[in-house]
């Protein structure tokens, strides 16, 4: 499942800005990552770090105005989605790249039967007739584990539970066997037991279809369970980009370390979970140096004055931190930090 061939999605220097009365908010400020077939990439970060905006930018679904993709490219099988005409983009949405949203309660149209909501995407992209599309839609509902799908397909969202609605969302997203699935916090709004069912379902279907998955989440548990690679986002930037094993075994960026420290550990008896002090800088007024500096325990003068780059280390991990560079002048030695 993890074998690498040609990348299907390459995001390069992606920037998404929001222009409001208060100024320009750089929600996504230069993001690079690559997704291969059959691979799951996690994008992790606190709310407001730009991870959802990244995913919406890929499909060009950011509300515009005020939002705008200000730069960079999103190469899907070599074609740039950012500059593609809207008509071509529509043929990719829901067909080759589809998306699952965080809120199953509000993401389905309340006045349209769920079967029809799935079938319309099938009719659109697969050029099937009304009847065939409906049958396919029922088939998809069965595939995602909804009991008596013929009956459910005719029902409207209010007649379904939250978990069922998220299954419907998944059925909708997968109806056209996409090559990339973007799952934006797909389990956050659900009960814990249903959470793992949904994650299992996504993994299961991923194996069947062989699609690449981008898993947007703030939950490192979800990452551990599902992802092959992880990009940690902070204030519109990726601060660490590594395989899941490397991230958990040897987190490099102080922010990643902080995130992992705030996880409850099973084998340790701690009274209190650690939290990262402070808050994300305002997206309207980003500091000129490292964006994490104000919260970083290892902060040096150079950190507040100059912004570090995302640099690949010997072990293949990319990290955006002065400590891992030759310029580091801090009192704490490179080795000690690790």
């Amino acid at each position: 499942m993890n074998e690498k061939n040609k990348p299907i999605l390459e995001v390069k220097g992606l920037k998404t800005h929001f222009t409001t009365k208060r100024g320009v908010s750089k929600a996504v400020d230069g993001i690079d990552f690559t997704l291969h077939k059959g691979e799951t990439l996690g994008i992790v970060g606190e709310s407001g770090c730009g991870k959802s905006m990244t995913s919406l930018s890929i499909l060009r679904l950011i509300p515009s105005p005020p939002g705008k993709i200000a730069g960079g490219s999103v190469l899907f099988k070599g074609k740039d989605l950012v500059t593609m005409p809207e008509g071509e983009m529509r043929e990719i949405r829901g067909n080759e790249i589809s998306m699952i949203f965080q809120e199953p309660m509000t993401s389905l149209n309340p006045v349209i039967p769920v079967g029809e909501q799935i079938a319309e995407a099938i009719r659109l992209h697969q050029k099937l007739g009304k009847k065939a599309a409906w049958e396919k839609s029922v088939e998809m509902l069965r595939l995602v584990g909804i009991p008596s799908p013929e009956k459910r397909a005719k029902q409207e969202p209010f007649q379904l539970s939250g978990g069922m609605r998220q299954r419907v969302m998944i059925a909708m997203a997968l109806a056209c066997t996409p090559e990339v699935l973007i799952a934006d916090e797909p389990t956050t709004a659900l009960d814990v037991t249903i959470q793992s069912q949904i994650l299992e379902l996504i993994k299961d279907l991923q194996t069947k279809i062989g699609m690449g998955v981008i898993m947007i989440t703030h939950d490192l548990g979800v990452v551990a369970e599902t992802c092959d690679k992880v990009a940690v986002m902070y204030a519109g930037n990726i601060v660490e980009y590594a395989s899941t094993e490397q991230i958990f075994a040897n987190p490099k960026h102080p922010y990643t370390q902080g995130l992992l420290d705030s996880l409850p550990k099973i084998n340790e008896d701690v009274d209190e979970l650690k939290t990262i002090e402070g808050s994300i800088p305002s997206p309207y007024n980003m500091p000129s140096g490292c964006r994490f500096a104000s919260r970083c325990p290892y902060k040096e003068e150079m950190c507040t004055s100059h912004k570090p780059e995302l640099i690949e280390q010997n072990d293949g991990v990319k990290v955006r931190c002065w400590k891992y560079t030759d310029e580091w002048t801090g009192t704490i030695k490179k080795e000690e930090v690790v």
Binding site: P63, S98, F101, E103, T106, S107, P110, V111
Partner: protein, 306 residues
């Protein structure tokens, strides 16, 4: 659902009784002795006493009201002071005309209002949107009686393409219906626009976009159905303003409907006629609102439970 309808019907019974109560007691505010008024000017003392006796005006007020209520339920709204004909007969002659006028007006309100609102909402803050909304703002600000006169002057006097007044053909309907429906159309347009803009921000519209649907399918299939639900209530309320407005519009265009009947009756102090007319119009409004509520409930159930 059936329970809801039944409960709603039961709820309007006290409202209807309340309306009869208000109508009855407002007429008690009339200065002077009603028996003198009813017997007519210069009537002898005996004649006044006879009227008092005959109409039970010497009874305590609550018995008078009770009898009035009983009569209303029997369909007896009293007799006109002018021609001694039963009020109900006169109302039933006038009512179809007013219903016809109200029907065409509400169609203008709904069709014109919703179309304008959708056009505005599709491209918010565009030149089209701003102009449509300016016209709508004018629409709620122009007095209907003035708009009616100006339309009459322009189309009937200047251009001479529409009849000045009366109620004989479909051509006669156009100006009164536009006059009466314009204000409501403006309100419905504003409501439709804001409702559409609200709906377009919803998550399920983003889902529809993520499916790759075309913009017009997103607007007409996914947004409009949801956006129109709150508009239903506004249309219902507008129907009340519209019924009240018939009073003015029927007077301007010399249409012999219920509204003009009430105004004429006020001028001639024909109180039973006023009472009957107001009561009847209110009953219609209460029943229409019942339908609107049930209609709204049917559409809104899925959203409430969402």
């Amino acid at each position: 659902m059936l329970m809801f309808i039944l409960r709603r019907i039961l709820q309007i019974v006290p409202v209807i009784i309340g309306v009869t109560f208000v109508v009855f007691f407002i007429m008690q505010l009339v200065p002077g002795d009603p028996a003198v008024l009813l017997a007519g000017e210069g009537a002898s003392k005996e004649a006044i006493e006879a009227v008092r006796e005959q109409l039970g005006l010497n009874q305590p007020l609550y018995i008078q009201y009770f009898e009035y209520l009983m009569n209303v339920f029997k369909g007896d709204l009293g007799v006109s002071l002018k021609n001694s004909q039963p009020v109900l007969d006169e109302i039933l002659v006038r009512l179809p005309i007013t219903i016809e006028l109200a029907f065409f007006s509400i169609i203008i309100t709904v069709v014109l209002g919703m179309t304008a609102g959708i056009i505005s909402a599709v491209k918010p803050y565009s030149l089209t949107d701003v102009s449509v909304m300016l016209v709508a703002l004018l629409g709620i600000s122009l007095p209907s009686f003035w708009l009616g006169l100006m339309l009459m002057y322009f189309f009937s006097v200047k251009l001479q393409i529409l009849p000045v007044a009366g109620w004989d053909s479909l051509l006669h309907v156009i100006l009164p219906a536009v006059t009466l429906g314009a204000g409501g159309a403006a309100i419905v347009a504003r409501m439709t626009r804001s409702s559409m803009l609200e709906v377009i921000r919803q998550d399920y519209i983003r889902t529809a976009r993520a499916k790759g649907l075309r913009e017009h399918i997103i607007i007409y299939k996914h947004a409009l159905r949801n956006a129109l639900i709150p508009v239903i209530t506004v249309v219902g309320l507008q129907f009340g303003a519209l019924l009240g407005g018939t009073v003015l519009v029927e007077s301007i265009f010399a249409i012999n409907g219920l509204g003009r009947m009430i105004v004429d009756a006020i001028r001639t102090r024909d109180l039973p006629m006023v009472q009957g007319g107001v009561l009847f119009a209110s009953l219609i409004f209460v029943v229409v609102n019942l339908f609107v509520d049930v209609f709204y409930r049917i559409f809104n159930k899925r959203i409430e439970l969402n």
